[in-house]
Symmetry: C2
Subunit: 416 residues, 2 copies
């Protein structure tokens, strides 16, 4: 029997947070979003982190399958990345003139990412998805943008929904929404908007929330790529979430095509704060002519960290290792569910697996099971894809499966 965690200090801290921060904790990490249901099962504040674990403020240790929602790809406090960052910090971080680490980092990305002829750095995924749309509009002198339903490309007004607070119709007036994996819908959009579509923006596969993640259908990307080329549409891949976990050369390369622009963040520097837009030569002068910068965008420490992170991921051939870990975990979790009569669906790519117990369409059974896992030290969330990191060991996977098994037993017993 695994110990059952309690979170009294997390609750106290949350009350303090809610007094001075809107919603207490905002975004995915906060209880206002749908990731934490029931919120009582989840810790809300961390005290420290190391490798694949974090410890909450109540002293509970978690095997962490969210990896800070992506950035933790080599393990928290990876010694190689931290050493490179610390060495740069002694020299300088945010300085009037940039460090040459910026050049080295761009050169490394161009050498690593198949569709990258150049790199442009910023701080958030949102910064670079927004730049990609502006660049596509500047280059094509067209306005319209095609999105695949279920998308997430950040929080700028152009990518939010009309019914979200603070969004006005002008923000989304040029957005066209089509179903995932639907080539004919894209053809129809082109036919209905002749010479008007600047870009299509998409994740490499559909890793949306609240439903099974969907891989690209056979031939899908090849057809989309050709339609873009034939119609002068800029093909933007938002690889913020999947980037470097499937293929160090980019998730477009993984699926056998090349994007015109590709957006990276999260796994690019193991948690140091940097993002990148990479792209093809034909768009370089367009991006050169744009007004786009930020106070910290040339900070040298995240560049040094990013160089160390990508270098280490290359040395490890990390995507292969994450695939192996993911397949092992998937197999163990499905078997544990089956043992107790549950049909656990594990969708998406194994390095970013999405979980759903398919026996109950209300998702409540799934939420019950997730809660029992979390309270025993396996940090899953209900309706968001998960993330793997290099520090996750076979022992951690075995412990995870053991806890998942016990959680299935608890839920099966409760449901009778």
């Amino acid at each position: 029997m695994h110990k059952i965690y309690e979170y009294p200090k997390s609750r106290e801290y949350f009350a303090r947070a809610a007094a001075v921060i809107p919603s207490g904790i905002y975004g995915h990490q906060g209880p206002a979003e749908g990731c934490y249901i029931p919120v009582e099962a989840f810790p809300l504040f961390s005290e420290r982190a190391e490798g694949t674990y974090f410890w909450d403020v109540d002293g509970n240790r978690f095997i962490d399958y969210m990896c800070a929602y992506g950035p933790n790809v080599l393990g928290y406090n990876d010694p190689d990345v931290d050493a490179a960052a610390a060495a740069q910090r002694k020299k300088g971080d945010c300085v009037t003139a940039p460090s040459t680490k910026m050049i080295e980092f761009a050169e490394l990305l161009v050498d690593t990412v198949a569709s990258a002829d150049w790199a442009f750095f910023a701080k958030n995924g949102n910064d670079v998805t927004t730049l990609s749309i502006m660049a596509a509009r500047a280059y094509t002198r067209r306005k319209k943008i095609v999105f695949f339903k279920g998308y997430y490309h950040g929080v700028s007004p152009w990518t939010q929904k009309i019914d979200y607070p603070g969004i006005i119709e002008e923000d989304v007036a040029n957005n066209i929404y089509i179903p995932w994996n639907d080539v004919s819908a894209f053809e129809q959009a082109i036919a209905e908007n002749p010479g008007q579509i600047a870009a299509v923006i998409s994740q490499p596969y559909m890793h949306g929330n609240f439903k099974d993640n969907e891989l690209p259908a056979e031939g899908f990307w090849k057809k989309i790529r050709k339609l873009c080329t034939d119609n002068g549409i800029v093909l933007v891949i938002d690889d913020v979430r999947a980037g470097f976990r499937l293929d160090l050369a980019g998730s477009d390369h993984y699926y056998g095509f090349e994007a015109d622009l590709i957006c990276f963040c999260k796994a690019i520097a193991n948690g140091y704060n940097v993002s990148a837009l990479c792209g093809k030569d034909f768009l370089k002068s367009t991006v050169s002519g744009m007004t786009y910068t930020g106070s910290y965008w040339l900070s040298a420490v995240p560049f040094a960290a990013g160089i160390a992170c990508i270098t280490k991921m290359r040395e490890l051939d990390l995507p292969r290792l994450l695939l192996e870990k993911g397949l092992k975990l998937k197999e163990g979790l499905i078997a544990a569910g089956k043992k107790h009569g549950f049909d656990l669906h594990v969708s998406g790519e194994p390095a970013l697996f999405y979980l759903r117990i398919a026996d109950d369409d209300t998702l409540m059974l799934h939420q019950e099971w997730i809660a029992e896992c979390v309270k025993r030290g396996v940090f899953f969330t209900n309706h968001h894809n998960h993330f793997l990191n290099y520090a996750l060991s076979d022992g951690d996977i075995a412990e995870t499966v053991s806890i998942a098994d016990e959680a299935f037993a608890v839920v099966a017993n409760r449901r009778g």
Copy 2:
């Protein structure tokens, strides 16, 4: 006679940068913008930084009056801020659940900033100016935004100009532009757009580029504040550039009024990557309901740095010290100019002084003088405000005035 700097390595590195980065170096720090004219006089890459100095890749040392365009407020590599950041880094930075440093930082801002009932953290000034506009629209259910001509509020489409690359008319369809310090223009905008103005966004004073900076006229802010209150318009102060250098309680407090929302970045954490939107209670639930987050927004290291930075600025009563340094420098520079027959205008607040030699409307004389200063180790720029930091000593100011004097002599001699 001061040594004349040369920059062969900066040139070599720039060629390498231009091969893999659009425009080589983008933003203010790059040669494509108007800050560096003639670009040959300026170093382009730094090797290290300490206190008020940075050293370029050619080994030249500069007394740095740009302070990384603002973030360096206590001196590069401030030992207290760096120690706090390093201690937090050992525990964790970007983790699935946030650190309680986030709460402490919000509590400290609420205690420090007069108009802050709460704080929301992000990464760029642009993130929080954009959130302020979205929040104002969500709260008022109105669309229009009033800007003061000469403004800079970041790089999101809503704040760029219609003739900038990648901007479409929908992005700026609801923008109203009025002259700085013109209360009657604001009254007219309200009259012409009844019940339609969501917000007015403004810097605390006009610190635009390419012209003398302008302080608020007597009574200006009191009248704007009243017009906003009377007409249900959200008053947003963009304190990204001036914040904490004029008054730790906010630049609105410095000028005797209270903003509804106030945006901070730059000086908030001495270069560690974090920004904040602070605001009044009546807007808290609106912001709580918004979809707004980013991969690194809950990173703990910048929070720890921000706590240390603001605590130290409070202990030092830093704005008073920066005012003293700024007045001393201003006096010395103006006297040096006068000695050689030049009318140097030093405008804006002394902690963020703007320079212009008023004897030549083409600005070329000014650019010549700036170039001679930079080549002797005083890092000024031509047409952007400057920034002071705590590490700038009386000796540095004396050396600056001595170099400025020599530069005036060179220019006077050349012009005959």
